[in-house]
């Protein structure tokens, strides 16, 4: 195609020989251009789509919070034969917001050497349960039981379910005594299921 300045193209008649040739060449060119367009927009979509979807799904891939040994107090000062509730105030990082939360555990010992430490959340739906020394005629005829106020799950001091909706015994935590201090490895477990699965 000559590209001259003397005679602008728009003033000239089309140079293609017959209408048929014209349309065949143009149609081939157009399907090629459509392919280019599809591939091009696909590439742009991919470049934009991958990081966007990754960022939205990012919470799924985040690591669990590291487990931490928490000091509960001096081992020899805990009362024997009666469960004791210990509150653990913790500073936690909730995405970019730092906040203080209160967790709690129940611990039980018969000799000040061997301990049982329960996560303070009920295994049914994670409410905070409490120790009832006396019979509570409305909810349980037994004395010395753990009673969850939300849906009245009742547990023995050994953690077994006596009755109520709880799907598994109370969740025990690992513990250790070092330098006279009792520590527990605080972990939350998924409520509402029969297996003890860390959150």
């Amino acid at each position: 195609m000559p590209r001259g300045f003397r005679c602008p193209r728009y003033a000239r008649a089309p140079t293609l020989r017959t209408p048929k040739q014209f349309s065949v060449t143009i149609m081939k060119r157009r399907s090629f251009l459509k392919l280019i367009s599809a591939v091009g927009s696909g590439l742009i979509g991919l470049a934009l789509g991958v990081p966007v979807v990754a960022a939205f799904l990012s919470p799924v891939f985040r690591k669990r919070r590291a487990e931490a040994w928490v000091a509960l107090g001096e081992a020899e000062f805990f009362d024997w034969d009666v469960p004791i509730r210990v509150d653990i105030p913790q500073t936690v990082q909730d995405v970019w917001v730092e906040s203080r939360i209160l967790r709690s555990v129940w611990l039980y010992t018969q000799d000040g050497e061997e301990f049982t430490v329960y996560n303070g959340r009920c295994t049914h739906l994670a409410c905070q349960y409490a120790w009832d020394e006396e019979t509570d005629v409305t909810f349980h005829p037994e004395s010395d039981v753990f009673h969850c106020p939300c849906h009245h799950a009742i547990f023995r001091v050994t953690g077994e379910v006596i009755r109520g909706p709880a799907p598994r015994p109370l969740d025990t935590l690992e513990w250790k005594v070092e330098g006279g201090i009792l520590y527990a490895l605080y972990v939350d477990f998924r409520p509402g299921i029969s297996d003890k699965v860390p959150v």
């Binding site: 091009g40 742009i44 990081p51 990754a54 990012s58 970019w96």
Partner: protein, 487 residues
């Protein structure tokens, strides 16, 4: 199948849309320069989508804004890339928008019948500058805070309305929470709405008038002025003659647009991956030494201000941009000669060269006058409560006796890596009553009434962040010993 298609088409009108928008004849000779407008639109799409992701991880409050951006940058999968793409798309948009404007100017495409679309384009330019100004503040880092302080300061020097303008921009007497919230609302709600609407009008007008052909096609035999009564008839005939039916909007023109957009996106991705978007230390309103840098496209104005005497500063700061905008708006009304090619419009060519060379010169001198330092790499942000603790540390003269990283007295123990040795709880108890731990301790008690329980906790949380040279992965080894109970 065909029946379903026809049924849908009657309801949706897709084929009418296809005929009216995509399957139209275009002028035969459109250049690669004609793709700049659509490339600008591509950056707009990128900015909207990445902006939505950023908004998903953003908190528009001075307490949390920086931490949330830090979180996106460092903790979110692909977060750094998303921020980089948003940052570089913004720069690319300004470049492409200005290039598109220059293309329209040199082709004389703002003349009959596209005058109104030129105005819409100028409004789009203003809205994009608004995006740039409001977006700059949102990360709430040093650069954000101080550049906005200066920007609002400039607005405040406007004669007569300056005070009101600055107060409205700040949303109060001071740059702070109110400013951030209102900038966020503008950046994510008002401005996108305005931009979307204007883009829609801009594009509808392109459909209405078609793409402007090369200047020559509309010059031969034209009446001298576009306001000549015979010009519309001449134009219609000449424009129709520029189309032989070989080029359709789809796919001929759009394919070219997409090819250029792919190149633009590839460039943005490369810059985002290589350089990302910077994040300086958190905004510190009490830092008097910080010299803010404006975004590069504000540099000409910034540099111009350093060249004029102080008394003229407010006049230049507000007057030059206003005059430029007014000149652009007036252009299609003033310039009604039918000559379109820049080669046959010496005055227009001169004006363009003057503005471009002037801006280039000012950017050049501004860049040379300042050393652009790479933004300081910062570690994890100190939690908000610990930041208060750091202030308490200074306010209570702790550094009179204790030293951190060589700063402070040496009466008491060094605290550089105290966080590696003691827990928050121990530090709290100790600060409240040191004598309980060591009977002969020289440290006075900072419990009530000196500091509240809350303040002691904040101070302890601050001390816990002091880790000396320890790597983030290193676990502290605590030496907490408590005095016997009952004392």
């Amino acid at each position: 199948m065909k029946r379903v298609r026809d049924w849908l088409d009657v309801r949706l009108g897709a084929s009418a849309l296809y005929k009216g928008v995509l399957d139209r004849d275009m002028p035969d000779r459109l250049t690669w320069w004609h793709t700049l407008g659509s490339a600008t639109f591509t950056t707009f799409v990128l900015l909207v989508v990445t902006g939505i992701v950023i908004a998903t991880y953003y908190s528009a409050s001075p307490v949390h804004a920086y931490d949330s951006v830090w979180y996106l940058q460092n903790e979110v999968l692909g977060g750094a890339l998303i921020r980089g793409m948003h940052h570089w798309s913004a720069s690319a948009m300004v470049v492409l928008l200005i290039a598109h404007m220059i293309r329209v100017f040199t082709w004389g495409a703002y003349k009959y019948p596209r005058e109104a679309n030129w105005w819409v384009g100028v409004l789009l330019f203003i809205v994009v500058m608004g995006f740039s100004f409001t977006g700059y503040l949102l990360p709430w880092d040093q650069k954000a805070y101080w550049a906005t302080q200066v920007g609002i300061g400039i607005a405040g020097t406007t004669p007569v309305i300056g005070d009101v303008a600055a107060t409205v921009l700040r949303g109060g007497p001071e740059l702070g929470a109110g400013t951030l919230a209102r900038f966020y609302a503008f950046h994510t709600l008002w401005l996108p709405g305005a931009l979307g609407l204007l883009v829609l009008v801009h594009m509808s007008l392109v459909v209405r008038h078609g793409i402007a052909p090369e200047a020559r096609a509309l010059e031969a035999g034209a009446p001298k002025s576009t306001s000549h009564p015979e010009y519309p008839a001449y134009y219609d005939q000449a424009y129709a003659a520029s189309k032989s039916g070989r080029k359709k909007f789809w796919p001929d023109i759009i394919a070219k647009d997409i090819v250029v957009s792919v190149v633009v996106v590839a460039l943005i991705m490369a810059l985002a991956l290589r350089f990302g978007a910077g994040l300086e230390p958190p905004a510190n309103p009490s830092d008097a030494s910080y010299v803010p840098t404006p975004e590069w496209y504000f540099l000409p104005l910034y540099q111009l201000l350093t060249l004029v005497p102080g008394s003229l500063e407010s006049l230049v700061a507000v007057g030059v941009p206003t005059a430029l905008i007014l000149a652009l708006l007036a252009l299609p009304l003033v310039d009604r000669r039918s000559k379109r090619s820049i080669w046959r419009r010496p005055l227009a060519a001169g004006a363009l060269v003057f503005v471009l060379a002037g801006s280039g010169y000012l950017i050049g001198t501004a860049t040379r006058a300042r050393t652009f330092e790479a933004p300081e790499q910062v570690g994890p942000p100190i939690p908000a409560s610990a930041r208060t603790g750091a202030a308490l540390y200074r306010a209570n003269g702790c550094s009179d006796c204790h030293s951190i990283a060589g700063e402070g007295g040496n009466e008491g123990p060094e605290l550089t890596d105290i966080g590696m040795r003691h827990t928050v709880g121990w530090l709290h108890s100790f600060i409240e009553d040191p004598a309980r731990f060591h009977e002969d301790s020289d440290m006075p008690s900072f419990g009530l009434p000196q500091l509240t329980h809350q303040e002691v906790e904040e101070l302890s949380l601050y001390l816990e962040t002091l880790r000396g040279d320890a790597l983030p992965s290193e676990q502290p080894e605590f030496f907490d010993t408590f005095p016997p109970i009952g004392r």
